[in-house]
């Protein structure tokens, strides 16, 4: 399985994403820059976290209008798997590839801690190596992760089972509606989530609860 990582000025989790994909798939991902208009033939495109364009205007707003995101949208339309983590999630929402919006945390504080995540939908390409209802550990680090959608959109996203991850056991760090931590598009090939699964993939991280997300989407068997 081949993967690509999108690079934009101000991202800072790109190395973590590249390291995770390299370790898990056994192949280094190709990298694409914000001005690239074409993305090589890959099975998975990852948009990492950080503070693209300094979070100016709105988190992810400027990045979502860069040429590379038109290429991501074209690939997504063709069924290529896309995952956006943290700022990557904000960029996907701003680009209109996922519904809703990510607003300032209700506490107004930047949160950097570990949360519990419930697998709300294990029937996706990204979560098939998890069990439905399973609760995993995952770190978060963000200032604007407060998921919001108007009532009709929210009802549709919930009704179609497109909420993939929920903050569990009272660990909602940002005030997200319905404890939403990650959602998928209607075709099931574009996932966005605020927590950082790429930062919990091996013993040196203190756990590997995030690893199965990448193994799922890369078509690999679950590690023992």
């Amino acid at each position: 399985m081949k993967s690509a990582v999108v690079l934009l000025p101000g991202l800072n989790r790109d190395r973590d994403m590249i390291a995770a994909l390299t370790k898990i798939s056994g192949k280094a991902p190709v990298t694409v820059w914000q001005t690239d208009t074409e993305i090589p033939d890959v099975d998975l495109i990852a948009i990492p976290g950080g503070f693209s364009f300094g979070d100016y205007l709105r988190c992810g707003a400027i990045a979502a209008r860069m040429p590379v995101m038109r290429a991501v949208a074209e690939k997504a339309a063709k069924g290529v798997q896309v995952v956006g983590v943290c700022n990557g999630f904000q960029i996907l929402v701003e680009a209109g590839l996922l519904s809703g919006a990510l607003m300032r945390n209700a506490s107004l504080k930047f949160v950097c801690r570990e949360v519990k995540l419930e697998i709300a939908n294990a029937n996706t390409a990204f979560t098939r190596n998890y069990a439905a209802g399973q609760v995993i550990r995952c770190p978060v680090a963000h200032h604007d992760g407060n998921y919001f959608a108007d009532p009709e959109t929210l009802a549709r996203v919930e009704g179609e089972g497109r909420v993939v991850f929920r903050y569990a056991e009272g660990t909602n760090p940002n005030g997200s509606v319905n404890d939403i931590a990650g959602i998928i598009n209607d075709k099931g090939n574009v996932l966005g989530l605020m927590p950082h699964p790429e930062n919990l993939i091996e013993a040196a991280h203190g756990g590997n609860d995030g690893r199965a997300l990448f193994e799922s989407v890369l078509g690999l068997a679950k590690a023992a």
């Binding site: 205007l57 709105r58 707003a61 701003e94 607003m103 300032r104 107004l108 407060n146 005030g175």
Partner: protein, 82 residues
């Protein structure tokens, strides 16, 4: 070259929680400004557009809001030529 000046105001839609506005509201109360019922925070963009065609400028500004300046999932916008 003539220049058209405009002010774009972007505000949160009704029903969208504004924790920053709430924090400002509480701070005003702390400063002794009693009777502040509510504060909602927004953004203002002062834009200068070259040309003299006001109708085109206004159409362009609305398109700018739809495409970038506002996130219409959570925000309303208004355009005023000044």
């Amino acid at each position: 070259m003539p220049v058209i000046k405009a002010r774009v105001t972007v505000t949160l839609k009704n029903g969208v929680l504004d924790p920053q506005g709430k924090a400002i509201e509480h701070a005003l109360d702390g400063l002794g400004f009693g009777g502040v019922g509510s504060v909602r925070q927004g953004k203002v963009f002062d834009v200068e557009i070259e040309g003299a065609d006001k109708a085109k400028a206004e159409a362009d500004l609305n398109a700018m809001c739809e495409k970038l300046l506002a996130n219409t999932v959570i925000e309303n916008y208004s355009v005023t030529l000044i």
